[in-house]
Every structure is written in structure tokens, then in C-alpha cells.
């Protein structure tokens, strides 16, 4: 299979305009005859569903939670980028595009990223019109802040709850369409397979999580907007129900999975404190604007801190090692996420880590409190400090916070072309579920931008282009043999799990998978480690199918839900390790210890690895086939990132 990214002709700045001008359209009378399925109601899914509904298509939306408003986009704190240049500080579409390509370590497609930057401004307009209460200045105009080390202030925000507000905006827009009858909502449903009829995606098999029944749904096109697969690591900042199964089964039905090893590890999370822990909590990156990160210079003191024989406040100023400021004088504590995370792990591995686990570093606001006053710090970060205190039971105004990196976002995902269509016709992927815009590393405040861009401003166009020649295709019956077969396969999968009846719980196996992933496929990877990971995952997978314990229950069965997801994670983890092993370079979130400069910086290999790695599924017993989409950089100069 050849990968065709279908990037429109013409200069970069005109590609999207040209595309829109020449694409095919569907007339209003025909739209009513066409059905679209959307999986997921996060920013990408909800905005796409709302937009499709407004255009007149029949939309069926599925979400795993009890309400579409609960999708995990809601947890994004920091903000959303746009190239509005309201602060008059030199921002532009071009600069946002350039920063995003650079931030992604030159592993994203130029044309997609440019389009993203282009529509970023429309997103802000749209959200304001929806009544999203963005922060404002006294003059009544929108406020901006700088975020994630950007040199311009281009981030729009709504307190520390930007994701929530944007999601509720999209949820409102979708609710409006539900009321109008164009969108039909199916909550508490989990997609377990996609149905392909004559080479095109024509429906899905979902499990009703309340009744346990399998349902078939048909449509002319399917959009997967089910988010990322970060929970393959077990502990992550993702929500408990976030999973990669929808995308994974699309992969198994012929859609390619791209750059699966690109995962983002966020530097400022609250550290792990025990085995029972179910998830990690992110603290907004904005904390790094004023907080200073350090560990003790003296290894012995670090040991005392770990044993609880000393307190952070006992360490005198001259004995603190502000390692980010030391290593990266130009950016200091504001280096990109991947750099900050790795530097923290490096210190902890070297024996300077704190907390009883030795897996934490300090984020200190002492200097900021002295400089700005406690009140100003409280105003800026009050809610975050409160959250920290609630979880850790320490007052961050007095004792420095402890932070540690945690899995946060997956840049990889289903391979899509310029139209966000996967290698399966009629199967689209949007938001975190696709791989398209962030390359090897995502910049802060860009995820919200991408999700909404895909849903509000890209899919509504490209979907029409796809459906234009489908107007003659009548609605599908779900009695087709393809549906029957797909449902049968899902049923068998469920039966197989229920029949194991072993002795280990799903969570316990999931945690073990998480350990393998974090140890060998986490922040710093090596050839040996990855090879070991592949072996270990295989063993664990075999053990899962031999020994997992899932109770058989009528109706609702949470253990079964988890088991189905973990079964997929056990396959996905292996593909991630394979991809990481294949990529003999360090770039963005992917760091191979063998490929670093003498002073520990990532070494990219643009000659050999400037491509998107897309994997084609070849059956459970065969290795996947790697396809390469060469990345051509015609508009930006490819440079080594340097934050010194």
C-alpha cells in the first residue's frame, strides 16, 4: 500500500485556500441522506459532530462516559494558542506554524501544520461567539499570556480551566444539534470494532456499557476522535476510561498507525506515592514561569530528604542545584516539556531525587513569593496550589512543591492524509487520535487548538469532499454479512476473555504493563531496553490470556471493559516499542540514549529518519509492515533545537 498524503498543490500559504476552492461539495438535499458516525465527544469529536449537524448531515455520536461533557479534553488547564497577534508582539500565522514545526522537532507535515496555524484564529472567534468566558483585560478585550516558553503571548485562557470551557462550548454546540435532531447521542457506549464494507468504513460495533449488549450502527463515514493511548503506561494524566481501543481496532482493520512511539511526558505532575495509585495529576506548565526547579547538590542530603530526616526548607540556598538554569541558561526553567522531563529524570536516576520514592524534584516558589509577594502568587496560581495541597497535604507556599514527569499526551496515532482520512476510505481520525500536527513533541496549548481545528474547520470541508460521490449510496442495513461478522468477532473476543478465568486482576496486569513501558519505552530508551520490552510485553500478553480474572456478569461489567482495553494496550505497547527501536535517533518525546551529544542533548538524524513511520497490520502472528512517508521541509529551515 502506498501512502499518499494528498497535500494540495501550490505554495504553502495557499494550499488550504486552494483546497477549499476546488473541493467537491454536497448539496443540502443530499446531506440529509448521508450519515456520519463520530466516536468520542472531546474537543475534536464534539466540534465535528456539531458542525456536521449544522451542515445538515445525520450524525450519530458515541461516548464512553455518561455524558459527552465529560471527555478528557475537559482537563486541559493552560490555554489555547492562536496567531491573533492581539498583544502586538510580532506573532503571525507564519510564526505559529514555524514554532509548531520546530517544537515538534521537524517530524510533522508542513502543510498540515500551516493549516492548523491558519485556522487557529477562527477557533478563537468561534469560541467567543459561543460564549466561552475567556479571560479579558479591563478594556474588555481578550487577554493573552505566554505559555510553554513561546516568545510571544499567543495563549488564550479561561482561568486554569480552558479545556473545560472550550469543551463545554463544543458540547453546547452539539447539544443544540441534538435538540434540532440532526445529531443523535449515544452515551455509555464503547466502540469495539469498525465495519468495512467493500473497502470503505461503513459502521461500527459498540458495546452498551449499561446493558452489556453489542450494537451495530451503520453510516456513510466514520470519524474516530477517541483521544490518545497514554494509559498504556497505566499511570498517566489521562482519565480512567481513556483508551486506545477504537484507534487500535481501526488499525487492525487496515488503517495505519503512525509514529506510535512519540509520547509526551509532562514535566510538572504530582509525583507517585504508592502502588495503589490509579492516576497522576498534572499541574499546569504555567507554574514553570515563576517556580524554580532544583534538587540538592549533595547526594547525601538527597538521601536524608528521602528518608524524611531532613526537610526541603532545611537546605540552604547555596546547596540547591537549579539544574535547568545551569544546563540551559537561555531558557532556564522554561525549556520545552521533553527537555525538562528528561533533565528531571536524569537527576533522579543519578541519585538526587527526593520524596520517599526518590522520584521527584522540587519546584520552588520561594523566590517568586519574595519578588512578587504572596498575594500575587496566590492570584496567579492559587487554585493549583490548593489542588497540590489537597493531594500531597503540604503547603506549597511554605515547602517547595514536588514534581515528577508523567505521561500526558500521545503525538502518534492513526495515520491520516491532508484530509484527515486514514488509509481506510471513509474512516477519518481527528484530535489526539490522529498523528498529524505535533510531530515528535507537542507544544503547550496546542492540543486544544488542534482538536478544535480538526472538528470545526477541517473535517466539515474534507468530509464533504469524501461524501460528494456517496450521495447515491443508500443507507446501509446492519444485517449485512460484514456487520454480522464483525459483531461475531467482537463477541468471540469477549468470550475469550471471560473464559480465561485466571487468578490475576486486570488492573494488576495493566500495572505490570505500565512498569515495562515506563522503564523501557518511557523517557529514555535504549536498543537493549526496547528489545527487552518487546519480549516482556509478549510474555505478559501471553500471561494475560492465560491468567486474567474477569467475572462473568449480566449487563454492566467494569472489569470486562477494562480487560478489553488492556488486551489492546498489550498489543499497542509492543508496536510502540518496535517503533522506538526502529527510530535510531532522538527527537522530541523520543529519546534514545545512544543518540545524544556529549552533554546529553538529543541528536536527531534528519538524513535517515525524516519520515513518518506508518505501520500496517498484517495479522496477529505477523510483524507489522513499516511504511515511510518522507517529510519534505520546503518552507522552514531544519535546525537542531537549541535551548541553551
Amino acid at each position: 500500500m502506498e501512502l499518499n498524503s494528498r497535500i494540495p498543490e501550490g505554495p504553502l500559504t495557499e494550499k488550504w485556500t486552494n483546497y477549499k476552492a476546488s473541493q467537491k461539495l454536497v448539496n443540502p438535499a443530499n446531506k440529509r441522506k448521508l450519515d456520519i458516525i463520530v466516536i468520542g465527544t472531546g474537543l475534536a469529536g464534539a466540534s465535528a459532530a456539531a458542525s456536521f449537524g449544522e451542515m445538515g448531515f445525520n450524525v450519530k455520536v458515541f461516548c464512553i462516559q455518561d455524558s459527552p461533557r465529560r471527555a478528557h479534553s475537559i482537563a486541559a488547564q493552560g490555554g489555547i494558542n492562536a496567531a491573533k497577534n492581539y498583544p502586538n508582539d510580532g506573532d503571525s500565522v507564519w510564526r505559529l506554524f514555524h514554532d509548531t514545526v520546530k517544537g515538534g522537532d521537524y517530524r510533522a507535515r508542513e502543510a498540515n501544520v500551516y493549516r492548523l496555524a491558519e485556522v487557529s484564529n477562527n477557533i478563537i472567534d468561534q469560541c467567543v461567539a459561543q460564549g466561552v468566558p475567556f479571560a479579558r483585560e479591563y478594556g474588555g478585550l481578550l487577554a493573552n499570556r505566554s505559555f510553554g516558553g513561546a516568545q510571544v503571548s499567543r495563549t488564550f485562557y479561561a482561568k486554569g480551566q480552558t479545556g473545560q470551557q472550550l469543551l463545554l462550548g463544543a458540547y453546547g454546540a452539539m447539544s443544540k444539534e441534538i435538540e434540532r435532531g440532526t445529531v443523535k447521542m449515544y452515551a455509555r457506549r464503547e466502540m469495539l470494532d469498525v465495519v468495512i464494507v467493500d473497502g470503505r468504513a461503513r459502521g461500527v460495533i459498540v458495546r452498551n456499557l449499561v446493558t452489556g449488549e453489542l450494537e451495530r450502527h451503520a453510516a456513510h463515514a466514520v470519524v474516530i476522535a477517541s483521544g490518545g493511548y497514554g494509559r498504556v503506561f497505566f499511570l498517566s494524566t489521562n482519565a480512567m476510561s481513556s483508551n486506545g481501543s477504537a484507534a487500535w481496532h481501526a488499525y487492525k482493520r487496515g488503517a495505519m498507525m503512525a509514529n506510535p512511539c512519540f509520547t509526551q511526558i509532562h514535566p510538572t505532575c504530582i509525583p507517585v506515592h504508592g502502588d495503589y495509585q490509579s492516576k497522576l495529576t498534572l499541574m499546569s506548565e504555567s507554574l514553570r514561569n515563576d517556580g524554580r526547579i532544583w534538587v540538592p547538590k549533595d547526594e547525601k542530603k538527597a538521601a536524608l530528604l528521602r528518608e524524611g530526616k531532613m526537610k526541603a526548607t532545611d537546605i540552604p540556598e547555596e546547596e540547591k542545584d537549579y539544574y535547568l538554569e545551569r544546563r540551559y541558561p537561555a531558557f532556564g526553567n522554561l525549556v520545552p516539556r521533553d527537555v525538562a522531563s528528561r533533565a528531571g529524570k536524569e537527576r533522579c536516576d543519578a541519585g538526587y531525587g527526593v520524596n520517599n520514592t526518590g522520584r521527584a524534584v522540587y519546584l520552588d516558589f520561594k523566590e517568586a513569593i519574595q519578588r512578587l509577594g504572596r498575594k500575587a502568587v496566590e492570584e496567579k496560581y492559587g487554585n493549583l496550589f490548593e489542588m497540590y495541597e489537597r493531594i500531597v497535604d503540604e503547603n506549597p507556599y511554605v515547602t517547595p512543591m514536588m514534581i515528577y514527569p508523567a505521561v500526558h499526551y500521545t503525538m502518534g496515532g492513526l495515520w491520516v492524509d491532508y484530509e484527515l482520512q486514514t488509509t481506510v476510505k471513509g474512516l477519518f481520525a481527528a484530535g489526539e487520535a490522529n498523528f498529524s500536527d505535533h510531530g515528535a513533541n507537542r507544544l503547550g496549548a496546542s492540543a486544544l487548538m488542534q482538536g478544535l481545528s480538526d472538528g470545526y474547520f477541517v473535517l466539515p470541508y474534507t468530509m464533504q469532499n469524501y461524501l460528494a460521490d456517496q450521495i447515491g449510496v443508500p443507507r446501509f442495513s446492519t444485517d449485512l454479512p460484514e456487520f454480522e461478522q464483525a459483531e461475531k468477532e467482537v463477541r468471540e473476543r469477549i468470550e475469550k476473555i471471560l473464559n480465561v478465568n485466571g487468578t490475576e486482576t486486570v488492573d494488576s496486569i495493566h500495572k505490570r504493563l505500565g512498569h515495562i513501558m515506563w522503564e523501557y519505552v518511557g523517557m529514555s530508551r535504549t536498543k537493549e531496553g526496547l528489545e527487552k520490552a518487546i519480549e516482556e510485553i509478549k510474555k505478559l500478553r501471553a500471561e494475560f490470556w492465560r491468567n486474567v480474572k474477569v467475572p462473568r456478569r449480566e449487563g454492566m461489567n467494569n472489569e470486562l471493559e477494562k480487560a478489553l482495553r488492556v488486551a489492546d494496550f498489550l498489543e499497542m505497547g509492543e508496536l510502540m516499542a518496535r517503533d522506538a527501536l526502529m527510530r535510531n535517533e532522538s527527537c522530541g518525546g523520543h529519546f534514545r540514549a545512544e543518540y545524544q551529544t556529549p552533554d546529553g542533548e538529543a541528536m536527531r538524524d534528519d538524513t535517515n529518519y525524516s519520515f513518518v513511520a506508518a505501520y500496517e497490520f498484517k495479522g496477529d502472528d505477523n510483524e507489522p509492515v513499516l511504511h515511510k512517508e518522507e517529510l519534505k521541509f520546503e518552507n522552514v529551515e531544519v535546525k537542531q533545537r537549541n535551548y541553551k
Partner: protein, 251 residues
């Protein structure tokens, strides 16, 4: 920590439920309330018993999925805290904790501690949005918005839709939830355009769905994990009255 849990168990909506007592040893005090339930469930699964079903998702207090009635309070008795943010260190060693589902006619029980809150979605569907379509909107800075109004709007918009207000209200009223949305949009010029229709539609839907009537006890505000203010309800009352007089909806 040692704990005695009295957990409401109910097979499904039609079955009769009852409290079942569980004893837990060695619960780490750093664990969150939901992690404590995870530990319980892990043990139940190993014993071949049915694990306790409860709703949860983000576990960082923003998605609004979790919601347990703990010792007589929704999300437990601590202020501005969701169930997932409640930690076991807040309980005494050896404590007995009673865990119940949200109880309200508008929230039928699905199983154990899980209830159906889709009525809150139906409320939003009745008008909790600005009816603009994608595209064709003016530049974001075309209409300046008074900062105080924007801030108040944000405070109202912070609602996570968990339903604690309904659960704790002796009347099973959804006034705080509805008024938060009505207020958020009424405070912004973008939302004012259809404010009169919105408030009437949402109130009508609220009544249809079988929520109770507000009697201003303000228990909702006291228990709201996001501190949504009852002054939003006053604003909605005001808006409703003005709308009914000036522009009543045609039935």
C-alpha cells in the same frame, strides 16, 4: 488504616438495593477515596464477588463524573472537593463510612453507586448554548466584554455538571445547575441575544424533567464542589421574570 464501609448495593434499576458492610485493612492514608474503592474492588474480584460499580473518570476534579454521597454529604463533607479529590487521610482510623448513590427522582440508579444523570444533558439541550453555527462569526475582539461580567461568567461556567446540587437539595431541584448556565451566557453580550428565550426554555425543560422547586435553602451552594454561587439563581429568577413579562415564549 482500618475502615468499615457501608456501601449501597443495587443490582439494577428495578431491583431493591441494600447496604452491604465491608471491612478494609491497610488502606494507605494517601490514597484517594476512589483508590480506596479500587482496593476494595480488587479484593472483591479476587473473592469472586461483584465489584462495586461507581462512576469516575478524570480523577482530578474537573470532569464531574464521580459523585458519591459520603457520610451524609455529596462528595463528602469537605468544601470545594469532589469525591476523587477526597483523600483517606481526612478520615479517622477505624472509621465507619456510609457510601450512597445520588438520590433524586431525576437521577435513577443504574447500578450500585452509579446513577443516570442524562437529565442534566437534556437541560443543556433545551437551550444552554448560544445558537451560532460554525463559521461566519465576527472577530473575537469585535465586542468588548466588561471584565467583571466576564469574570462572573467564568465563575458560573466553572460548573462541572456532577449533580451534587440536585443530590443534596431536599427538593431535588436543579436550579443551581440551570442558573449557572443561564448566568454564564446572560453575562456575556454574545449570550444576551437569546437570553430571554433561553431562560424560559431551560426552566420549562427543568420542570418537565421532574426536578423539584427551589426553596432557597442554599444547600446546593454549600455542597457545590466548584463553589457556584446561589446569586446565579437570583439572576435567573430576575431574567425569567423579565422574560415572561417582556417576551413570553409562545406555547
Amino acid at each position: 488504616m482500618k475502615l468499615t464501609l457501608k456501601v449501597w448495593r443495587q443490582k439494577d434499576n428495578k431491583s431493591k438495593g441494600k447496604f452491604v458492610e465491608y471491612h478494609l485493612d491497610n488502606v494507605p492514608k494517601e490514597a484517594s477515596f476512589l483508590e480506596m474503592l479500587d482496593i476494595l474492588n480488587e479484593q472483591l474480584v479476587m473473592k469472586g464477588e461483584d465489584p462495586v460499580t461507581f462512576d469516575h473518570d478524570c480523577r482530578e476534579g474537573i470532569c464531574g463524573t464521580c459523585g458519591l454521597y459520603i457520610n451524609g454529604h455529596p462528595h463528602g463533607k469537605f468544601k470545594n472537593t469532589t469525591t476523587c479529590q477526597l483523600h483517606m487521610r481526612k478520615f479517622a482510623d477505624g472509621a465507619t463510612i456510609t457510601v450512597e448513590p445520588w438520590r433524586s427522582a431525576a437521577f435513577p440508579i443504574i447500578k450500585d453507586l452509579m446513577v443516570d444523570r442524562s437529565s442534566l444533558d437534556k437541560l443543556i439541550q433545551s437551550g444552554g448554548y448560544v445558537s451560532v453555527r460554525t463559521g461566519g462569526v465576527p472577530d473575537a475582539n469585535t465586542i468588548p466584554v466588561n471584565k467583571h461580567c466576564a469574570d462572573l461568567s467564568m465563575d458560573a461556567a466553572a460548573c462541572i455538571g456532577c449533580g451534587a446540587c440536585v443530590a443534596t437539595c431536599k427538593n431535588g431541584s436543579a436550579m443551581l445547575f440551570v442558573s449557572a448556565k443561564v448566568s454564564q451566557l446572560a453575562l456575556l453580550p454574545q449570550g444576551q441575544v437569546e437570553a430571554r428565550d433561553r431562560v424560559q426554555k431551560m426552566v420549562a425543560r427543568m420542570d418537565e424533567l421532574g426536578f423539584g422547586n427551589c426553596s432557597n435553602t442554599f444547600a446546593c451552594e454549600a455542597e457545590c464542589p466548584k463553589g457556584i454561587s446561589v446569586t446565579n439563581i437570583a439572576r435567573m429568577n430576575r431574567q425569567f421574570l423579565a422574560a415572561k413579562i417582556a417576551e413570553p415564549l409562545k406555547k
